[in-house]
Amino acid sequence: MSDTAKPAVLSLHNVVSGYNELTVLKGVSFDVAAGELVTVVGPNGHGKSTLLKTISGLVPLKGGSISIDGQPTLTKPHAVAALGVAHVPQGDMLFPEMSVLENLLMGAYLAPGKAEIDRRLEEVYALLPKLADRRNQVASSLSGGERRMVGIGRGLMMAGRILLIDEPSLGLAPLIIEQIYGVISELSRSGRTILLVEENPARVADLADRLHLLDDGEIVWSGPPADLLARDELLATYLGG
């Protein structure tokens, strides 16, 4: 599947998963190489979040395999986190009664020591200065945009090999979406490996190295984002125009 020469950080092979009897993903395969930003787009309810949750272990794998740096992932999410998967889930899923700082510290839960935690904090505050100003504010009192930034900051505190980001633009005002995508693009330029889920392919046009179109749990098209945007019939069929 891989169309790059670089070794794959994340590799999915015929992934099947879902909830109880409901099968959502019906055999998904693709790779993400080091330093790439790969995007999965697709209509609502077709398995994008399930895909990320399957990678991070929140949804059990029913078939196929997933590996990180060639190592098969484990079944428990905390073990997958230890392998270097940092999942920024849809809807942020912050710890609502904790401060911004404590949320960030939870991101560094597996970090080896105080010095490393401080180093990561500094890095996150440099990228998201607003979080430094708000460090003592309780998460539940933040605005939607601030919450999203805490979610991303917490994911960065994990210092994973790959960052999974689920619909970072969801429910935010256009101006804030622009800020969030500015941050993601900066992360990508600095060489992070990112798997990004987004509903709107136009938003990732000049950002993603590759794009996969997920429809009803299957990848129906893969290629550079610009190619998808030029294909009106695909956009009309899968993304409603």
Partner: protein, 295 residues
């Protein structure tokens, strides 16, 4: 008049301290794992008897009595996790709450009866009690009450520091607030559940010693504090620790004053009245979150 008021206050604060200790153990387990531990009462009793055995039967010093209560309470909590809770969690998560409640009712009864068979039903004197009264002018402060309040204040401080300032405590709170997110951060929730039950068990053990030092040791010792603790939890909002402590002291003071003004028999009904009122007007408790994340 003032001295009567003061002695009612001291009595209220003492029961408040006892209720708070029982409530925190119960509330911690509920808040972080959605588990209503009906065996909490028996774990309290176990702590009281463990202290009795260590000091009276084995003749060990007071310190060892406390240690035995903590140790046995913690062991009961740990075993409860390993033998029962862990296995119930493997099954359908949706039915965990009701399953674990029924299972712990059974375990509580079994444990209470084991204690009954081992020690007999006759009340025993808790050796870890202090006699004497501290006279401060017109004020009479029984040493026992002072000890209880001090022990509870120390325990609360320890728990607050543990939950508030340590990595383990942060993981426990994270699990309570968003279990899936905690797992994504690398928290092994099964280990958190084990830690929470061990912690709650050790609190129950100490609480058992304190309660029995005010009264006597008997197998049903833990039932009354557990019932009261449950009331405090409901009033505070299940899973809210600072709220539970506030409710424990507030309701105990209310109970003490009503008992003084209207007679002893009116204490408990007035607590029940408060619970019903709270359930009607603030179903999630006075300080409760509107929703508690379940399994």
């Amino acid at each position: 008049m003032l001295d009567i008021l003061m002695s009612v206050l001291v009595a209220g604060l003492t029961t408040g301290a006892l209720y708070a200790l029982a409530t925190v153990g119960l509330s911690l387990v509920w808040g972080s794992m959605g588990m209503l531990n009906m065996a909490h009462a028996a774990m309290l009793t176990l702590g009281g008897y463990a202290a009795f055995t260590a000091t009276t039967t084995l003749g060990l010093p007071v310190f060892a009595g406390f240690a035995a209560a903590i140790l046995f309470g913690a062991m009961a909590g740990g075993l409860l996790y390993v033998l029962i809770v862990r296995n119930l969690l493997k099954n359908d998560k949706a039915t965990f709450e009701s399953n674990v409640m029924i299972a712990t009712v059974g375990i509580g009864i079994a444990l209470e009866n084991t204690i009954l068979l081992t020690y007999g039903g006759q009340p025993l004197k808790q050796p870890l009690s202090v006699d004497g009264i501290l006279k401060l002018g017109p004020l009479n402060l029984p040493y026992q009450n002072i000890v209880i309040i001090l022990v509870v204040v120390v325990m609360m401080a320890v728990i607050a520091l543990l939950l508030g300032k340590t990595r383990m405590g942060r993981a426990i709170r994270a699990t309570a607030q968003n279990r899936d997110a905690a797992q994504l951060m690398g928290v092994a929730v099964n280990r958190v559940y084990f830690q929470v039950l061990v912690l709650s068990g050790s609190l129950a053990g100490i609480c058992g010693v304190m309660v029995s030092s005010m009264t006597q040791l008997s197998p049903p010792l833990g039932n009354d504090p557990m019932l009261k603790a449950f009331i405090m939890c409901v009033v505070a909002g299940l899973g809210n620790l600072p709220g539970a402590v506030a409710a424990a002291f507030g309701l105990a003071l209310l109970e003490a004053f009503i008992q003084y003004v209207a007679g002893a028999r009116w204490g408990f009904p007035s607590l029940l009245f408060v619970v019903i009122a709270v359930l009607i007007w603030r179903p999630s408790g006075l300080f409760g979150r509107t929703q508690i994340r379940r399994m």
